[in-house]
């Protein structure tokens, strides 16, 4: 099992009476960027703290490079954690912060100097080595925290919401950079985040977690294109839903009928594996894939349903619409703000809502 970096076996942890981590099993491969994605309270941070050794599991086992961590205290584990709040030592300079781990491991003075300098170079902070953390910007502090972990060459770097405290633009830059650094050093990264885009951009594989359990593990594409549960589907942005039943099966597609919007007739959608006729299903669609038109069928869409605009929200780069398909079905649609008047729709207007077979998924109930 040289290929496995971290293995969690049937891990359970109670916080008081609540099960924060619910019999979780996971395998993280060597050298991969693995993300644990989930809403707050899903047990992601607890899982990370269990791996780092700050909390003891009530049940189950953690193996790092095949070695059980059961009796290993945090200071002897081959992992380093990048804290959400960075936890830089305020009374030490940037250099001393980065060198702290090497000093604790009794690395020789000259080695320590060259390794700490190299780590600061990697995060582009070599000119700030004698500053104190309070003199750095949030982004710079984040880089110091990363360098402080990487310099020890651990088997695994754990990141707890690493970009959570950064503003939107810096966040996007750091997503790319973090991934590049991870590739360069080749160390296994386990990153905890509630931000789905972040997880999809950076990761080789993603585990979606909720209520202490892993719901789905896969490549970003697998998770995004083929969610296997309703929770995962909603969490990664498939927020429009509709109940229905499979009517006919084709090679790659199938049609479903939805009693809640009888006017729609049969809806064409990608066929999931193992689909059978007459099964009850849930149709889930992405708001950004829906197209609106002024009652003229544009032709290039598989599906078109008549709807009424209930609400319009202007966000600058986007127009967000709430459209009513029937008394019980209210969907969201997000259209890029093209500026053209024929792409604007008013409240109360009847529109044609169009989408393709690939723009959503169906889950069997």
């Amino acid at each position: 099992m040289a290929d496995t970096s971290v293995e969690l076996r049937d891990l359970a942890k109670y916080h008081g009476a609540t099960l924060a981590v619910d019999h979780l099993s996971l395998e993280v491969r060597s050298g991969e960027f693995f993300s644990i994605l989930g809403p707050s309270g899903a047990g992601k941070t607890t899982t990370l703290r269990l791996v780092a050794g700050f909390e003891r599991p009530d049940q189950g086992e953690i193996l790092i490079e095949g070695r059980s961590m059961r009796h290993v205290p945090p200071n002897l584990r081959p992992v380093n954690l990048v804290f959400q709040t960075y936890a830089l030592f305020p009374h030490m300079t940037v250099f001393d912060n980065v060198a702290f781990g090497l000093e604790m491991r009794r690395v020789s003075r000259s080695d320590l100097r060259s390794r700490a300098s190299a780590a600061l170079d990697m995060v582009k902070l070599s000119d700030k080595h004698d500053r104190h953390p309070s003199q750095l910007s949030g982004g710079e502090q984040q880089r110091v925290a990363l360098a402080r972990a990487l310099v020890n060459r651990p088997a695994v770097v754990l990141l707890d919401e690493p970009l959570g405290a950064l503003d939107q633009q810096l966040r996007q830059e750091m997503q790319v950079e973090l991934k590049a650094i991870q590739k360069q050093v080749g160390i296994t990264f386990i990153c905890v985040t509630h931000h789905q885009e972040e997880a999809l951009i950076m990761s080789d594989r993603v585990a979606v977690m909720d209520h202490g359990r892993v719901l789905q593990v896969g490549s970003p594409q697998e998770v995004y294109e083929s969610p296997t549960t309703e929770f995962v589907a909603r969490f990664i942005g498939l927020s429009n839903h509709l109940k229905g039943r499979i009517a006919t099966l084709h090679d790659t597609t199938c049609t479903i009928t939805a009693p809640d919007i009888p006017a729609a007739g049969s809806i064409l959608i990608r066929r999931p594996p193992g689909a059978m006729e007459a099964t009850r299903v849930m149709l889930l669609l992405r708001p950004e894939r829906l197209h609106l038109s002024h009652n003229v069928h544009p032709g290039r869409f598989h599906n078109a349903v008549s709807a009424r605009v209930d609400k319009v929200t202007y966000t600058g780069n986007e127009m967000q619409y709430l459209v009513r398909l029937s008394d019980s079905v209210l969907w969201k649609a997000r259209l890029p703000n093209s500026g053209a008047s024929q792409d604007r729709f008013r409240v109360g207007e009847t529109v044609l809502l169009c989408w393709n077979a690939d723009d959503g998924v169906i889950l069997t109930e």
Binding site: A52, P73, A87, L88
Partner: protein, 257 residues
């Protein structure tokens, strides 16, 4: 200036006068050339010079400094340990320890003095500078612990975890991360404890034996035969030293990283 501000300002002024006017008068009369304190007869340093000649007084100063230094050192070690240890207790146990620790500060000092005296008699420890020092440690420990804990509670617990995560043993994490961050608060606590020890009368009165007269006790015995200008001079020095130490202590406690 608005009416409200004028009111606020004059109320503050009256308060300050009330607090500091007696002290100001005392300092003023310590420079009075007259032996009869009530009237101003011109400026002199005579009473300050007379203090240096008073052998009994110098012995008392020596005793006071010794007691303050030793009791503060002991109280600092015990108080800081208590504060750090308390952070690791469950919240229920912490409340119990907190209550027990605060007790010496809330019970009337006379009671504490009597209790200590009874205790020393019971264990047959002769009253001396040793018993005075022990008495001072009793209320200096909670003072150091409270000041240290106030700072400790503001520290991010993640800092110590980060040190552990980077390979430090729990002791190294404390030595290299927690302790340096606590240092300003600890120095503040030391100054506070030292000052309170230097100024204490009641507990010292009950626990002191022959030959262990401290400065406040000496002042008291001098006052018994009437308030002399020497006492004014001595008190002025004590007040200024105490104010300086407490001021420094507060500045250090407020310091942030």
């Amino acid at each position: 200036m608005s009416r409200g501000r004028i009111w606020l300002l004059s109320a503050s002024l009256v308060n300050l006068l009330f607090l500091y006017l007696p002290i100001a008068v005392l300092i003023l009369f310590s420079f009075n050339a007259s032996r009869l304190s009530a009237t101003w007869q011109g400026f002199t340093f005579r009473w300050y010079l007379a203090l240096v000649e008073d052998q009994a007084l110098l012995a008392a100063v020596h005793n006071s400094l010794l007691v303050a230094a030793v009791s503060t050192s002991l109280a600092t070690i015990l108080g800081v340990s208590a504060a750090v240890g308390m952070e690791r207790l469950s919240s229920r146990r912490r409340r119990i320890v907190e209550g027990a620790l605060l007790l010496p500060l809330v019970i009337p000092e006379v009671m504490l003095g009597v209790a200590l005296l009874l205790f020393f008699v019971m264990v047959e420890l002769p009253l001396s500078l040793v018993t005075v020092t022990i008495g001072h440690v009793v209320w200096n420990v909670p003072i150091v612990a409270i000041i240290t804990r106030a700072r400790l509670q503001k520290l991010d617990p993640r800092l110590e975890e980060a040190a552990l995560d980077l390979g430090a043993t729990p002791w190294q994490a404390f030595r290299r991360v927690t302790l340096p961050l606590l240092t300003p608060a600890i120095i503040g606590a030391v100054l506070m404890a030292f000052t309170l020890s230097l100024d204490d009368f009641i507990v010292t009165f009950f626990t002191a034996g022959p030959g262990s007269t401290t400065l406040p006790l000496q002042v008291y015995s001098m006052v018994k035969s009437g308030v002399s200008p020497e006492i004014n001079a001595l008190s002025a020095i004590l007040v200024l030293i105490s104010m300086a130490l407490i001021g420094l202590s507060l500045v250090l406690q407020r310091q942030r990283n």
